[in-house]
Symmetry: D2
Subunit: 339 residues, 4 copies
């Protein structure tokens, strides 16, 4: 399958390149980066030096039209706004697009504007995009021309929450989520806040109280609940490279068998690992993998359910999930290149 | 002031020694450690090598009776259970005791047994102890013979919560706290879980849903509310040496001026720094200090108040606060040796 | 190929299990650990939870005789001394053994005693062992019944040095090596020195001036030089999980083309990546891989050659190299399960 | 003593501000930063929030002439080149200057050009500057109008080396130094190389073979030896915030008592701690302090002496040493504000 990555110079792009170089059914035909155009993948990412392809494939500055002739499926790892601009011509050329940005995750352009501070650059396409969470939208992803991959926080929050919301066992007005993220979650942003000595031996909440990812989380929860859901979300920056822990506090509305619900939802999912009530997740068990680990505890004292998830923000949180979608779209084994 | 530290070999003990060696009014007459008896403080803690006192003072294995003759105020940095055993004879000898363990924090021995799994070893003394949170119990601490220093999590949670509870502006049934702690919070425990490679590049919730510190937090909240308070608390282990972030989600019961409440409570407190609604706390700003930094945000979408605190778990969370109590008990300036 | 791992509970054992679970031609029939006997691999190492085999295979406490009936090739990840005790009966049963300990690396039992402080427990077998550095002893490894895998420091030092020693272009009396190692290099030792808060934000030299690994490094250099070589070696402990940098200062005895020598030695080696004079190695490019990255610079001011290598101490430094040997012994592709 | 800091926004500047805010005899009258002009010190560095002065003192963009009227001693924490431009007018106004840059460390402007790639901007002043290593140039520093503070690597290397060079006990042609530095050593440079995720879980040599600091190290060694000295120096970047380890390999030219030499040189120095042959330095023992810890071992096998030093690169390596010089220049106790 001829494939290209647009905007391959950030952490998500680099992780995509890592996965695609090793994918048994992928022919990586182009990687673009304005900054690195003309240099080989091996020069920019020395960890891939041993791949024959990495030594020959050069970063380019191709435009969408050129890329449309080179790839059947194109990954976009661009900032929001810019991603939509690239998507339009690719869409028109009939190329299938997997977009890692936020541009096509929201169905309502007004919410896009509210959370991203600018008018949506391609509102006509919003109705075409499928939200790229395979455990929820598998069938639609298979047939999609445009997949909008979820953010890393949403993945870590929606997978534990959606089965519970659907079963109507929790109080929808009292969803309190606290997340902890490694620093690659911010992308390869060259800003003082992300310098080593500013992050190391530091922890800090940020984006309080209205982080952008809230918009897509609440959208998906509302769809599942069939009523509007508004929740609390407080993310924190923590000094490690990769990983997200989301800890979700829920008021139980009934007294169900939580394990049964999760097993029913996920027992056959290749990338969801249910830890049960006895074990708690740890990011070090998922780093570098496409797994999400889910643990939970019922607190008898408060009648609350605490659900905790762990993912690698760059793999299941971004690029691994994108490849999972790619596999579905291509008719490959869903786990190809991911185990 | 002649002073001794019992059980000086852990992280809390080492931090106490650090603070007391530099305290202008302290004569450190004894430090005990079964493990290190006979060796100088400088040999065991090379960072104190330049202190004349550290080169001459040797760790001893003195018993309480011997210590009673050597010190007017004794710090106990011992495991719970053992601390109470040491306290009894010191109390009887009229020595003033500042206990860093959990042994005298709880007023009710049944709750002690529920949370610590053993009968309280000295229940008669429970009524004598003052909870060592100077911002709340300053006057009582000044006169106390026995001070029970709060745990690190309780300090980071109670200081933000107590003024709000007293003002009755929050829904007491909906206090949701998530905390992140550096690894010294576990003490110098030589266990696999705390090895470098088990903690580095790892984050994990633990102690869910009933961490021991809940007992003292709920006790103090209940006293302030004048009714029983039960809350949610989920701590996490995070890869840094020192620091705690506590993020507290609260349902507002009225629409008060939060800044006014905090200012009223803490404007004159030497170790509480109010960041207001514009800035969020970061542990790197408090590490090595006795400060607690408090920030907050009202979420208009949910009518919730998010309060976030940062402390150094070994300083304001343990040993610095103990020295703050010591200063009060001794009639010294409350900040002596702490700025 | 039926394979077993003895002593699978340490970091090297865990890395072996990781590699063998994914190896296309391996049937892992037994993993032993006194401590974990009766528990599944998935229970002890949750990161392998998704492997069917990890969920069924239990740690056992089998003795060598039992293991001889279960595996054609056995990996030993045991402490030195104990490894030799296990090897003897396996050898006698005709089983092929890949030993990760130091027990069979040295040809001379007196040097073993000098560096390891005890008489060699199986001196008769010393002559049978092949030093498991495939780039140097590939042919012998293919046919060996007993392979002694090199230490992590020796791997990082010998691969850069041996081609230069053989070409006689350096002054053999003036080899100065400084190495930096991540903390897993010490193994999963539950000792105070390796606690998170003792290693994080700390760097320190150790094992000065006579680290145990010197014995095997000097042995192999002396063989290559055909004369006794004594060198300087100073290792340092550095706060990261995995990785070794070795920086080697050499007095040039002639003025050769260094790139030509390294290319001649390693151009076709699948796991040696030559960075040349323009790029310097970085451990983050090799972590999790079996590669060694080599860079070098000639200092015209001093007429010295500085060679720098980077490896993952647990992969090319230990378990990856063991699997590389295993592939050679089994007639598999040398890179099977390692790319 | 009225004092100002020019260029206070980097790590060295921030550390200077930390030390000067707490210094008992300093009146900090101005801090400049083009970037932060108009904001208070407390706004930019929240860790100093509790200092009354930090809440009132604003960053300014004053020029040298203005500063000359405001301070008797001025610290310059500017990039090289720019520092010299600021020094000239301050010098002419009779103000005493402590420069933390490299601009006045070298006596020979040709060597400045060779190592810094530009002509020296104020060669006339070179002869006026005193190299700010108090243990070596104490008397001259007391009287100096212009002090050029040494670099962090030079401090960690010169203090162990100079007594040995003076005693002529080592082979001057065979000085091999390897250094490990925390990331603040690079300054608060907003570049990709210093992002958290590029440094964490990474180690790498850099600046091989001709790091800029070589110039001043060799200058000072040559002065002490009374003959030209050329040495080998390989620095490494290591994932911690603060600290330098320098490991120095020396060929012994005679068989002296090393402890005696170091004691003779440093026994009365307030900031040199001699660890002797039994203990090795660890950066965690010096972080946040102005100490240099020195340990050493003679290797009988090679007749080499290995000397190892540890400093905090921002304190004894930069700003602490600058304050030590300031104390000497001002006639204060040399340790004022530093213990």
């Amino acid at each position: 399958m001829k494939t290209a990555v647009i905007g391959a110079s950030g952490y998500a792009g680099e992780e995509l390149v890592r996965l695609l170089l090793s994918h048994p059914q992928v022919d990586l035909t182009a990687v673009t980066s304005r900054q690195f155009a003309g240099q080989t993948v091996a020069q920019i990412f020395p960890r891939f030096f041993h791949h024959q392809k990495a030594q020959t494939l050069k970063f380019s500055d191709f435009n969408p039209k050129q890329l449309a002739a080179m790839a059947e499926i194109v990954f976009l790892a661009l900032p929001h706004g810019l991603a939509a601009e690239f998507t339009q011509p690719l869409w028109e050329a009939g190329v299938r697009v997997i977009d890692l940005s936020a541009d096509f995750r929201l169905r309502d352009p007004h919410i896009y504007k509210e959370f991203y501070g600018q008018a949506h650059p391609a509102p006509d396409l919003l109705g075409q995009a499928v939200y790229g969470l395979p455990e929820i939208y598998r069938k639609k992803i298979c047939a999609a021309q445009l997949v909008a991959c979820p953010g890393c926080y949403p993945t870590s929050i929606l997978l534990p929450l959606l089965p519970l919301v659907r079963k109507k066992i929790i109080d929808l007005r009292r969803i309190i989520v606290t997340s902890l993220s490694g620093v690659t979650g911010a992308g390869r942003k060259v800003e003082t806040d992300y310098l080593f000595a500013e992050c190391n031996e530091s922890m800090r909440p940020y984006g309080v109280p209205k982080h952008r990812h809230l918009s897509e989380i609440e959208q998906e929860l509302s769809i599942a609940a069939n009523e509007p859901v508004v929740m609390q979300f407080t993310p924190h920056l923590v000094p490690l490279n990769r990983g997200i822990i989301s800890t979700i506090s829920l008021d139980l509305a009934s007294n169900p068998d939580i394990g049964l619900i999760f097993n029913h939802a996920y027992a056959n999912e290749p990338f969801v690992r249910l830890l049960g009530e006895e074990r708690l997740p740890d990011t070090k068990d998922v780093v570098g993998t496409n797994f999400i680990d889910l643990g939970w505890k019922v607190d008898q004292r408060t009648n609350r359910l605490i659900v905790m998830s762990a993912i690698d923000n760059l793999t299941k949180g971004t690029s691994g999930q994108a490849v999972q979608c790619f596999n579905l779209m291509s008719g490959f084994d869903e786990t190809a290149g991911l185990l």
